[in-house]
Subunit: 360 residues, 2 copies
């Protein structure tokens, strides 16, 4: 059991946004929300996956929708609590723990609001080891665990429960429509899990890893070392490209932020171009005509000087960035994992190749 206090928030926010691979919500918004919760309710308790009783009832809390909209329609935290309480009432049992469904500047800390308000601990884990745009893209889906019952709430006072669906893809479909109706963002409570299911089917240690990444970046910066190198080393990743953003095409459609960014190489990469394709998260990095990295591996866009990540809704013309990639959780690379989050799931016509093979 560890007490999480406000002074640790900066490291967590930076590291979580790095793992968010461009999505997972804006870290500034996340920090504001989490700080307010910590100040109002005091420190939250983080427990390791191994500390969970098998019959604990764990419910992840998250934001769903288009990050472009989120930065204009700031979540108040109240919606997250209402979604959580609506699901608890529907389940008819007390939820014992909350957790993140994905890593990300906002979604790593959304559970802080619920944990603070309800006085329950947070499990140090998530359902992706990164961020992905769709409901079914959670390691629990590999194990046949349902996202339902799932509750959605908005800032206006609406609450919807997806009681029982055919599968997690249907849950995504309904939840996406409702999210669009709610104004393209919603707060959700989903994937109710036993403690045993969390141990089996989720990704342990994501909060700890995020905080560690944030600390490594901060220390490298303070020591005038290369913060990007620190991240690459910790994640066993690869440096893909150094460049300047020359164009960003971004649309908010069907409850997602979709688009591409064009980068022109600088220093060693001068003369080359890199294209980043994203749907909330960075999904494919293509250098000239060659794919350098793709989902489910992590693709991250960092500031070369500060090591801080840029989300897909914040990418702007003129930004100087370094693009890196790192291996995803091993389960995403299995046949079942790739059927959920492989390149073809996002409409790309090629098979997944691990980053270590693409760039030995």
């Amino acid at each position: 059991m560890r007490e999480f206090t406000e002074d640790r928030l900066d490291d967590l926010a930076v590291g979580a946004a790095i793992l968010g691979t461009g999505g997972g919500g804006n870290p500034y918004v996340g920090k504001l929300l989490a700080r307010a919760a910590l100040r109002e309710h005091g420190p939250v308790t983080i427990v390791g996956v191994e500390e969970l009783d098998d019959d604990a009832l764990v419910v992840p809390s998250a934001m769903m929708g288009a990050p472009t909209v989120l930065v204009e329609k700031l979540p108040q935290g109240e919606e997250a609590v209402r979604a959580f309480e609506a699901l608890q009432a529907y389940l008819g049992r007390s939820i014992t723990h909350t957790m993140s469904i994905e890593a990300g500047g906002l979604n790593s800390v959304t559970p802080f609001v619920v944990a603070g308000r309800l006085g329950i601990p947070i499990v140090d884990a998530d359902g992706m080891g990164r961020a992905f745009p769709e409901v079914q893209m959670v390691t629990a889906s590999i194990y046949g665990i349902a996202a339902t019952p799932m509750a959605l709430a908005d800032e206006k006072g609406n609450q919807v429960i997806l009681a029982d669906t055919l599968d997690n893809r249907w849950t995504e479909r309904f939840a996406r429509s409702i999210t669009v109706d709610m104004g393209s963002t919603a707060m959700v409570a989903q994937y109710p899990l036993t403690g045993g299911q969390v141990k089996q089917a989720m990704v342990p240690g994501t909060l700890g890893l995020a905080e560690e990444l944030g600390r490594l970046v901060r220390e490298a910066r303070t020591a005038h070392d290369d913060p990007v190198a620190a991240v690459v080393e910790r994640l066993g990743g690869r440096r893909l490209f150094s460049g300047k953003v020359t164009d960003v095409e971004r649309r908010t459609v069907a409850g997602f932020t979709r688009g591409e960014a064009q980068l022109e190489g600088i220093s060693n990469d001068a003369g080359s171009r890199l294209t980043l394709h994203f749907q909330n998260e960075h999904l494919v990095a293509r250098r000239d005509d060659r794919v350098l990295a793709s989902a489910p591996d992590l693709i991250m866009v960092l500031d070369p000087d500060t090591g801080e990540p840029t989300t897909t809704e914040d990418l702007r013309y003129g930004f100087r960035v370094v693009v890196i990639a790192a291996p995803c959780d091993a389960r995403w690379r299995t046949e079942e994992g790739l059927a959920l989050v492989g390149p073809r799931c996002f409409g790309y016509d090629f098979d997944f190749v691990p980053i270590e093979e693409r760039l030995p």
Copy 2:
């Protein structure tokens, strides 16, 4: 208490479809569903509104969506029962009665399936005294009664609960999106009401009226009288137009069947044209440039020889029809009623004028 047996179904289906004003679901589909339910479970019990205990728990059962799709994707009845049971589980109390939410070839008899399966009586009432396309267009809305909690189910096994929304228009919005995702039709259980609320806020006697209209039409036909005249007389209505359908423009959009039909006058109406505008139901009848009748008054399209109604999804080039209109429930003509179902609610730029004033 009255036992409703299969031999009464034909009259009910015809009369309900007349009151359905072009919508409310296909009467042939409705008859098939209700007949199967009556054969499987025996007669259902119909009770009058006045027989209800004030603390009865009454939940209307209905089909929602585009009638054009309904005739291709036939409801099995199972979905209606699942929506009903999902809502009952959510409410945590036994539902004592069901009823129709609207009059219509299908929606007047949808409750028969639920009543038969669950062995509960049907209340002789509905929420419109006719059919309307949207969730909030129920007399209960005038009294501030919520459509939520509301359950939707499809034939694939999906179940969604709209737990709590800002108002019945928001419920319509969410329910419509979910219905579209479910394949443009869904079975729903909505507007849970106490017996007291049914007495106060719903339209009593709609089933009885429908059966009576069906009988009048049948008897007129048998006696070689004019069946259309019998309907006009019983409803205190007006004969608007006799004509031949020369064009139908119909689209299935956003979970509705929308369009217009053009009619060329015959006999006394030769030389004139009538345009019918519909959204599931007939909403406006315009003769040349003059509005003859509009929602919330009832506009009905009948076969001049048989008196049988034609639904908006069945209207075809070449049909010879008589168009009639009749006064709606008096509550729809109040300021609160017209704010829910007046011509402007459907996008028309004119105020409601009662049919008795338009055609004295």
